[in-house]
Symmetry: C2
Subunit: 248 residues, 2 copies
């Protein structure tokens, strides 16, 4: 089996209101097929959806000012993080580890000033699974191809250094492949094999983008067996409820 990943060149700076599906279809040209997976860094999705906040328009409250002082940060940025958080788990070394309203656990609730317009913060999409579904429909309309679509972000991990790209939105791709109870090569039951396909696809795509390249989209070919007719359960299916989580 083979997999290929190629970064799409020529996507212009994305602005609020832009038709991102059209920009992606134009950048991909005629080379999109049924079963390809379009992996899009959330930042351009957020920009197209207007999920930006101007620092100048943020009035930090008392909690944000306190945290900003304690951690040497801009209180307006902290206020934006608090506004995007359902819960703050920890605050240390200038980073807040937050649970977002979607249920993601990540640094600063995904609020980021890098690769953002001047004086602005980029927020996570309000509903990244809906964003993925919408992009999928738009890409199908424009290209005729039945694709899987992932919206991704880089998350830090427990126990391990560094960040890995994960799926925060997913449409038309099975987010998990369940081998639990299926036999291994010698016919024995594979006990605990439940593969985070969407996260692994996000990670694969990240390897062909450099963070300063301005190449927010990658086409993966070779994952046809995971691409579905239905939009499916989305990246929400990847969230592990606390009661089932032995790893945190």
């Amino acid at each position: 089996m083979t997999l290929s990943a190629r970064a799409l060149a020529g996507i212009p700076e994305v602005r609020p209101g832009d038709d991102l599906a059209r920009l992606l279809a134009d950048a991909a040209g005629s080379d999109l097929r049924d079963g390809d997976v379009m992996v899009v860094a959330h930042k351009v999705v957020s920009k197209a959806e207007g999920r930006l906040r101007a620092l100048a328009e943020i009035a930090p409250g008392g909690e944000a000012r306190g945290l900003a002082t304690a951690h040497g940060k801009d209180p307006r940025q902290i206020q934006a993080v608090l506004d995007e958080s359902a819960e703050v788990l920890r605050a240390a070394r200038g980073v807040l580890i937050c649970v977002t309203p979607h249920g993601f656990v990540c640094a600063n609730a995904g609020v980021d000033a890098s690769n953002a317009p001047d004086g602005c913060l980029v927020l996570l999409p309000e509903d990244p699974d809906a964003s993925a579904r919408q992009l999928r429909a738009g890409l199908r309309e424009r290209t005729g191809a039945r694709l899987g679509v992932l919206v991704t972000d880089s998350f830090g991990r427990a126990w391990r250094h560094g960040q890995a790209e994960v799926a925060i939105g997913c449409a038309g791709l099975a987010p998990l492949e369940d081998w639990r109870g299926r036999p291994d090569a010698e016919g024995r039951e594979l006990r605990a094999t439940w593969i985070a396909v969407a996260d692994q696809a996000a990670a694969a795509a990240d390897l062909v983008r450099t963070k300063d390249s301005g190449e927010p989209a990658v086409v993966l070919r070779g994952l046809e067996r995971f691409v579905t007719e239905e939009d499916g359960p989305g990246a929400a299916a990847l969230l592990r409820p606390e009661a089932e989580d032995l790893f945190r």
Copy 2:
């Protein structure tokens, strides 16, 4: 930029004492180049290194018997897990979450009966970074190619469902790419971008293997920029010390 991943067909069942570098070189044929990355599922590495335990030869102690009764498991298997653990963090739903002597946090200390010889358990390699270095040297000798080599396993994650393949051994590949302090596309500092290259490469490779395919090795092409002359710090560099870990 592009990346390709292809699973190597034709690797026979690996047995203790087998020359794994030779088996991998034979399976790859003439199509290996400087800068390719050979990703090998740890299970064949462990088998070649004789890191197997026969269940019949394990005498479970009191702790193992107690855990086995509480969790409905084979006490000999639990004893093997305890023997491979520096610390058991949690025991629930038939799974022990362990810290291995290497410092990895994973289910059952990586001890696994699936895809194992009959009546045997497969353990993690004793020193997976050394295994990767040895494979790298062996592959260079046989093919002339300066490769990166990863030894991988599937780990569960905190906060998210499913398992993702990660690097437990690494040679000749930069395990992490550090963009912290480097500028983004608009010249602003990228604050927290520290990319777990080796784990993302492990995940990419996993997408072309099915768990019952008997294809334990994958060649990645397109990561030349991360492949180094030196063997480098290995996967040990991916371990996040508890004091620095905000995500657990």
